[in-house]
């Protein structure tokens, strides 16, 4: 590239002038802020409740392009003011977690490995085993202390362990279902 002395002075002078004025009059703060863009800035926000324990801390779920990108405490929740416990702070792992199994796995009695099964097959198995266990072990009548026979309609062969992820309505349905079967051991995961 050929550069005459005149060109050199022209370009060099312009650059020097640009540097001298630019550095003085420019506020770098907005540039810096743009450079450190927030990943949740363009995200959709959903208000939700932590799925784990009974405290029910409010959470803000940030999603972008149909994917959850961040979950943190909701500062508007009166009893937590946006704080979360370590388990609640890791709620995002419920959705974004490569280690989490996302297909139903079945281990046959006595087997040493898990195998993938369709969900429909699982439902059928659960229903059938519920039914069979109930048919086999249902206690309809029992003798009381005085020897008289009383109707108990009890099923002691099945225990139900509820989930803290279940909401109020789901818990109601689960209770109804279990009591209908006569299940006595009706527990909740948060109390175990």
């Amino acid at each position: 590239m050929s550069l005459s002395r005149r060109d050199f002075f022209k370009i060099g002078g312009a650059t020097a002038a640009g540097v001298a004025t630019g550095a003085r009059g420019l506020d770098l703060a907005p540039v810096e802020a743009a450079a450190t863009s927030l990943k949740i800035k363009e995200a959709q926000v959903f208000r939700s409740v932590c799925p784990y324990c009974a405290v029910g801390c409010g959470q803000l779920i940030y999603a972008r392009d149909g994917k959850i990108i961040d979950i943190e405490g909701d500062p508007d929740t009166p009893h937590t003011l946006g704080r979360l416990c370590p388990k609640g702070a890791a709620t995002i792992q419920l959705s974004n977690n490569p280690l989490r199994p996302i297909k139903p796995l079945y281990r046959a009695p006595g087997s040493d490995h898990w195998e993938e099964k369709p969900l429909e097959w699982m439902y059928e198995q659960v229903a059938r085993r519920y039914y069979e266990a109930r048919e086999k072990h249902f206690i309809e009548k029992e003798r009381g202390k005085d020897g008289a026979e009383i109707t108990v309609n009890r099923l002691e062969a099945i225990a139900s362990l509820g989930s803290a992820c279940a909401d109020n309505e789901e818990c109601y349905l689960l209770s109804k279902l279990n009591r209908t079967f006569g299940i006595v051991y009706h527990e909740h995961q948060a109390r175990v």
Partner: protein, 260 residues
């Protein structure tokens, strides 16, 4: 320049729940590490390139024979006189407008001078990216008006985030209150901007001597040795040079005597 932002960690309030640690990992997408058994509840043993927040569980024997559990959520201190920043040859480590120290990952060339220059062992090297990593006070969050993820998650407000002068005033009151309650050794670590390293932008309220928490009593930047050691080097170079001149001075004489 904006007012300096700081983090005040009141260890007397810490319950060791590690919500800060998890929130930090979650926001910064740091990923998991294989846990290491250290003999205490503490996990991990030290800062890594994937652990910027670390709750230290210190078991301290008391005179009555019981154990005291000292919990401290440790983090990068963002020193006013930062060893890592002084050591960085590429300018990747920068002081932001808020007074925090941040590593620009695009500029870092992975020389690891900062790793050895940090008096607290905070800066760590990531072998996947080939750059140094440390806590940035959630640089993206504080530049957009949000506090750091750890301070937001802390359920007991042991970690407080705000303007440094406000927090120092608050911390001073808290120390006085604790001492009145009988915590005789309650003290602030790094709150004094006239003290070591020009004051820490993440300062702590400790319930025992700093050494109990494995913190140096008087941390210094390694750069303080540069002038002294340079003088020593020059001195030894001079000595070696003089010695060499002295040793070779008589060489010519020997040759002459051989010829004679």
């Amino acid at each position: 320049m904006a007012r300096t932002l700081a983090m005040f960690t009141d260890t007397s309030l810490c319950i060791g729940c590690r919500a800060c640690q998890v929130a930090c990992k979650q926001w910064n997408e740091l990923g998991q590490e294989v846990p290491e058994w250290t003999g205490t509840y503490q996990n991990h043993a030290h800062f890594t390139d994937k652990t910027f927040r670390l709750v230290r569980f210190i078991e301290e024997p008391k005179p009555q024979g019981q154990m005291a559990w000292l919990l401290m959520s440790d983090v990068c201190k963002h020193c006013a006189d930062a060893g890592c920043l002084n050591a960085c040859p590429t300018g990747a480590i920068e002081r932001t407008a808020f007074g925090t120290v941040n590593i620009n990952q695009d500029v870092c060339n992975g020389c690891r001078y900062c790793v050895s220059a940090c008096p607290f062992g905070v800066v760590t090297f990531n072998h996947d990216t080939g750059t140094a990593h440390k806590c940035s006070f959630c640089n993206d969050r504080i530049h957009n008006g949000l506090g750091p993820a750890c301070a937001k998650a802390c359920p007991t407000e042991s970690i407080q985030f705000g303007f440094r002068d406000d927090l120092v005033a608050k911390a001073t009151k808290r120390v006085a209150a604790l001492q009145a309650m009988g915590f005789k050794e309650a003290q602030l670590y790094g709150a004094d901007s006239q003290g070591f390293l020009g004051g820490l932008n993440a300062f702590f309220l400790l319930l025992a001597k700093p050494a109990t928490y494995n913190l140096p009593d008087n941390p210094q930047v390694p750069q303080r040795n540069v002038v002294r050691d340079s003088v020593f080097s020059l001195g030894s170079a001079l000595l070696v040079g003089l010695g060499a001149i002295f040793a070779f001075r008589r060489r010519g004489e020997g040759k002459e005597s051989d010829h004679a």
